[in-house]
């Protein structure tokens, strides 16, 4: 693909040491590492809240939490996982890999890159404060809105909602700055000869995702700003008594919220498009159609938001449009998944951990997509709405669709990042324990939902006891299994078998032509791509 005669400059690794290296860093690899460490810590924080939820739901009757605290934890679990864990993890991998994959010396705007990361800890602090402020005298009521923050409830909650609104503002600013940086890097910093249509799919996925982010994040920022004004400055954007419309917030929220699903999933799909060809030892089947499908997903994803709001009483024409539009998305998504399967077809496949996670994502994300089509159908959705079926659906979409893609990417590139091979045996144990416990946790929730168990409740009818018990036990195993992931990563960072420059036999791309780990300053002379 390329020649890299004088690409390396590793005799002097000029970089600051100690805390200055991290606080003032403008190096894409260091900032990528910071993002990943931040995401990992938030992932465990969000995981603890998930385990608290499952522990409470293990049996009917109140056991551990009071209802207000339960709602607070539920809201924080979603916000921490989406904004704190999955999005920063994707941004971390993008920071690490995009410059290496396109032959750029760094991100286009390194100082902006530093800023977009260091906004995150401040945002996380606001998010955590929104959780704990109500426990102090005068702190007001706990957040009980869920991550959707619908008014009028969100106008009535105490000051913790203000912390949450500012957290969302900060997280949004960080995401927008990172997205601008990614777009500029991809447009202006590609190595000579690397046209857009020669670019690795992972970079394409992030290119599309970054555009989605700058299109929809300002909308939620506008929405929560109006919420803030309704709460404190006497406006009535969402207050029916003052002539406002609470449903307007739902539209603004989901105009952001639905593309957000693709913002979480597309980078994972991009990572899979690197992993599956490497372990099938074949080029990706249908490069152009995969790129086209991602563009179609992004476009359609922007215009179907109200399928989350079928029950608000829209006109028949509107719900029919949103139903058809939503079902249409299954075509480009299916195309990408079939491209992955066609890549595997008659390939010399081996199943190292990245490929295990990739295969699991293809299978389980398809299953999540299938229940998504069920939920897109208006009459069916009116039955499933706000039930545990929805909880099962979106966890099947987001855990295999986003988190398994991230795990595949992390295990695939960990040797490149650290210079060491991870413990394959432990990683495979982690995969199997994680995958089986995930399925047991969430599969039974489909039946709970279909049988009528509502979501977002602290207690339930005794007829739901058995499946909730199974879900909780498996959920606790699923949560604890991530400690093994942490151990594998720490072990890999500390040592292990030296990774070769090209850690995987079937891997292709510029990143594998650099040493493992890459020098502090890589691609000082741009490679020539043929």
């Amino acid at each position: 693909m390329s020649t890299t005669a004088s690409a390396l400059h590793s005799e002097h690794e000029h970089h600051p040491y100690g805390w200055r290296r991290w606080l003032f860093s403008t190096n894409h690899k260091d900032i990528g590492t910071l993002y990943l460490l931040f995401a990992l810590s938030m992932f465990f924080l969000g995981g603890i809240s998930a385990m608290a939820i499952r522990a409470e739901l293990m049996f009917p009757g109140l056991q551990l939490l009071d209802p207000d605290l339960y709602n607070n934890i539920l809201t924080n679990h979603a916000l921490i996982m989406i904004f704190g864990a999955v999005m920063p993890a994707g941004a971390g991998i993008a920071n690490w890999m995009i410059p290496l994959m396109i032959g750029a010396p760094d991100m286009a705007l390194p100082r902006l890159n530093n800023l977009s990361f260091w906004i995150l800890p401040a945002a996380a602090m606001m998010l955590v404060l929104s959780f704990i402020v109500p426990f102090f005298p005068g702190g007001g009521t706990q957040i009980n809105t869920g991550w959707t923050l619908y008014p009028p409830l969100s106008v009535q909650v105490g000051m913790s909602m203000d912390f949450l609104i500012f957290a969302i503002h900060l997280l949004g600013i960080s995401s927008v700055l990172a997205s601008i940086n990614i777009i500029v890097t991809i447009l202006n910093m590609r190595a000579p000869g690397m046209t857009l249509m020669k670019m690795p799919i992972f970079c394409w996925a992030w290119f599309v995702t970054a555009f989605l982010l700058i299109l929809v994040v300002p909308i939620i920022a506008g929405g929560v700003t109006m919420l803030l004004f309704d709460r404190h400055f006497g406006t009535s954007f969402f207050n029916a008594a003052g002539g406002g419309d609470p449903v307007l917030f739902q539209h603004l929220f989901w105009f952001f919220g639905h593309p957000e699903v693709y913002i979480l999933i597309l980078p994972a799909i991009g990572a899979l498009a690197q992993v599956i060809p490497a372990f099938s030892r074949k080029p990706l089947f249908g490069y152009h159609s995969t790129v086209g499908a991602m563009l179609v997903i992004a476009t359609l994803g922007m215009v179907v938001w109200a399928h989350h709001q079928y029950t608000i009483g829209m006109s028949l024409g509107a719900v029919t449009y949103f139903m058809i539009g939503t079902i249409l998305i299954s075509i480009p998504v299916g195309l990408i998944l079939f491209n992955f399967i066609a890549t595997m077809w008659r390939g010399a496949m081996t199943f190292e951990t990245p490929m295990l996670f990739a295969t699991a994502m293809v299978l389980l994300f398809s299953f999540g997509g299938l229940t998504g089509v069920m939920l897109a159908v208006v009459p069916a959705d009116i039955q499933y709405h706000d039930s545990m079926f929805v909880v099962a659906h979106f966890h099947y979409v987001l855990i295999p669709g986003a988190i398994y893609g991230l795990f595949a990417a992390v295990f695939y590139w960990l040797p490149k990042w650290t210079g060491h091979m991870y413990d394959e045996r432990l990683a495979k144990i982690f995969f199997w324990v994680n995958m089986i416990s995930f399925n047991i946790t969430f599969f039974v929730q489909h039946f709970l939902g279909l049988a009528g168990m509502p979501r977002r409740i602290i207690d339930y009818n005794v007829i739901f006891t058995e499946f909730n018990f199974i879900s909780s036990v498996a959920g606790l195993i699923y949560g604890l299994s991530h400690l093994l992931f942490l151990y594998i990563v720490i072990k890999c960072i500390r040592g292990g078998k030296q990774a070769e420059d090209k850690a995987w036999e079937g891997a292709t791309g510029l990143e594998w032509e650099l040493p493992s780990p890459p020098p502090f300053h890589s691609w000082e002379t741009a490679p020539q791509v043929k």
């Binding site: 000029h14 970089h15 403008t26 777009i183 500029v184 300002p218 506008g222 000082e524």
Partner: protein, 50 residues
């Protein structure tokens, strides 16, 4: 040599990067304000007045 200066790209690319980023930034600000009904009402009122 600091981490910033070591990986400098040529001034033309730097200018191009800055220009692209500013354009995208303006776009973000426009999208933000497009979500606020006040502006939508203003445009609608202006359109109706014509």
């Amino acid at each position: 040599m600091s981490a910033v200066t070591a990986n400098q790209v040529d001034p033309t690319t730097r200018r191009k990067n800055r220009r692209t980023a500013i354009l995208l930034g303006i776009f973000v600000v426009l999208v933000f304000f497009s979500s606020v009904p006040f502006w939508q009402n203003l445009v609608q009122t202006a359109l109706n007045a014509r």
